[in-house]
């Protein structure tokens, strides 16, 4: 019996977020009739899509016991690059998008090289690239939003109807990306190596896994995901916004922590980050429907983060 219980206790860390999300949904459903409708829930999915995709990249980084503070700003830069390339140079949308994603991936590469070759702590490195990305974005865009974008670029914001509910293509993309990330992290050697590097980098080196390559790959992939997120952001708002991404920075990290991934690396599931992003989005949506001030949403998020980390620690009390 005790053996059967132990893995369940260990999973409190991962089950916790789902339970919290469920509890929040039940609560808000009782508070306003509009909450539990298909349309409203589909809306929340759209609203968290950008943070959700950024959080995939951030999850990868945090799994290696690193952190990427530049995620939101790099996303904004990608958005500005792709929108300006389309609006100013008239590049066809797919090409412009590719350029934006290439820029964000490049930033990921820079982060990764500074962490692996120059051996700087991720916190410091990404603090630096955060500011650099922000400055480049403001300078290149002259702090103006970019409008008049080709419809192909904002196509992901379009919706289709499924079972009477409107669902956006962006939501579908986000869910697909989560599925992909979940598969790779769970079922492939490369994915398992990410966990191993985060849990015990010295051990991975000694068993012959190319630790530095894994780390570099993680930061590059994160940059790629930020680029996809910038496309989602542009598609949702219809403009290239140089001031986008500023709260997404911390929001993405919050989503990852709320989702049960440990900041110390080596533990967590990527789907948890989606749950984490949804928790924040549900609270924001639910509180607005209830007519409660947004400040309470911030308060609740803070409390949840502490609870999430505490739950993570508790679930490991079962281990020796």
């Amino acid at each position: 019996m005790k053996d059967k219980l132990a893995p369940v206790l260990a999973h409190i860390g991962t089950l916790g977020p789902f339970i919290a999300l469920l509890a929040a949904c039940i609560f808000f459903a009782t508070q306003s009739p509009q909450f539990l409708t298909g349309g409203n829930l589909s809306l929340v999915l759209q609203q968290v899509a950008v943070v959700g995709v950024i959080a995939i990249g951030q999850t990868l980084v945090i799994l290696t016991a690193g952190i990427d503070l530049s995620c939101g700003m790099v996303m904004a830069l990608g958005g500005i690059v792709m929108s300006k390339f389309a609006a100013d140079f008239g590049l066809p949308a797919p090409l412009a998008v590719l350029c934006g994603v290439a820029v964000t991936t490049l930033f990921g590469l820079v982060n990764g090289l500074l962490v692996t070759r120059v051996k700087l702590p991720p916190f410091i490195v990404t603090l630096g690239t955060l500011n650099i990305a922000f400055a480049i974005t403001q300078l290149y865009s002259n702090s103006q939003t970019v409008t008049d974008l080709p419809p192909a670029m904002t196509a992901l914001g379009n919706t289709f109807v499924i079972g009477g509910t409107e669902v956006s293509w962006g939501t579908v993309l986000m869910l697909a990306l989560y599925g992909l990330a979940w598969f790779v992290l769970r079922e492939t050697a490369s994915g398992r190596h990410v966990y191993a590097v985060g849990n015990n980098p010295e051990a991975t080196r000694l068993v012959g896994i190319p630790t530095q390559k894994v780390l570099l790959g993680v930061y590059v992939m994160a940059g790629l995901f930020y680029g996809i997120a910038s496309l989602l952001s542009v598609a949702r708002t219809g403009v290239g916004d140089p001031n986008a991404g500023q709260t997404e920075n911390l929001d993405a990290i919050t989503a990852v922590v709320l989702g049960g991934t440990s900041l110390f690396g080596g533990r967590g599931i990527v789907l948890g980050s989606l749950v984490g992003a949804l928790i924040v989005g549900i609270f924001r949506n639910g509180l607005t429907l209830m007519g409660v001030s947004s400040i309470y949403q911030v308060l609740v998020t803070g409390i949840l983060v502490i609870l999430a980390v505490a739950a993570d620690q508790l679930s490991r009390k079962g281990t020796r």
Binding site: H193, G208, T319
Partner: protein, 262 residues
């Protein structure tokens, strides 16, 4: 125990700046034996082991495996040559399962398209093999899917040893395998080491624990001042004399002949 020499080193020299860690050290490992390597701090036993396992590259000297000259540039080279090392800190990813740790870096992929295109891992097969290996070595851990961090110190050591034994073809090297273990768990590990030897794998064992060394080793290699001071026969020499050789209180010339290993 036969006389075939599996691994041999001659005249190894390693300098770290001003410090000379290995000063012309020799080494010899025979088939089917457990060879304990003992020595005081700074005697050069760690450096010797690192040179044999590929963790460091010696400045001078040669290493031979089965008579062939080998140049290990990294631990991976040594592993590829069939030498497995159990490090002092075990080198396990504690958050991952036993089965995952056993196959860490050597994961098995699924057959066909799933394995080659999607690069999907064959978890059932890895699990089955892990169970088989552990049973083979009579390690009594019930579930291979529990995380290594849920195991006791001795059990973790067994996992690390089983991993080495599972993949070693020629030599298993162990660095302080019973350090920090209690009596019962220590014995558990010693038993496991014997089983590894009985499977036909020679074992090199670094240890500070004299009782354990005397209990399990077939021969004892004494390292002193970066060289090999002597190779002793634990059945004939006393523990206190062994320590004396190790500290230099008894000079190698003064060791009675029957105490030396043949």
């Amino acid at each position: 125990m036969n006389e075939t020499i599996v691994m041999q080193a001659k005249g190894l020299v390693k300098r770290y700046g001003q410090v000379v860690a290995l000063d012309g050290a020799d080494f010899e490992l025979r088939a089917g034996e457990i060879l304990a390597v003992i020595g005081d701090n700074g005697a050069g036993k760690s450096s010797l082991i690192k040179a044999l396992s590929g963790a460091t590259i010696p400045d001078e000297g040669e290493v031979r495996l089965d008579g062939q000259l080998v140049h290990f540039k990294s631990p991976i080279d040594a592993r590829r040559a069939g030498i497995e090392t159990v490090y002092q800190d075990l080198a396990v990813a504690a958050a991952m399962t036993i089965a995952e740790n056993l196959f860490l870096g050597r994961e098995l992929r699924r057959e066909g398209f799933l394995g080659s295109w999607l690069r999907m891992l064959d978890k059932p097969r890895m699990l089955a093999e892990s169970i088989a290996r552990m049973q083979d070595l009579k390690v009594g851990i019930r579930s291979m899917t529990q995380a290594v961090e849920t195991l006791s110190g001795g059990q973790r050591q067994c996992v690390a040893v089983a991993r080495a034994a599972a993949f070693a073809q020629h030599v298993v090297i162990m660095d302080e395998p019973t350090a920090a273990l209690g009596v019962k768990e220590g014995n558990m590990v010693l038993e496991l080491i014997r089983r590894v030897r009985d499977k036909g794998l020679p074992v090199v064992l670094i240890s500070h624990n004299m009782p354990h060394v005397f209990e399990i080793a077939d021969r004892i290699h004494v390292a002193r001042l970066g060289k090999r001071a002597a190779v002793l026969n634990p059945k004939k020499i006393s523990m206190s004399d062994t320590v004396a050789v190790m500290t230099g209180a008894m000079r190698p010339e003064d060791i009675p002949a029957e105490c030396l290993a043949p």
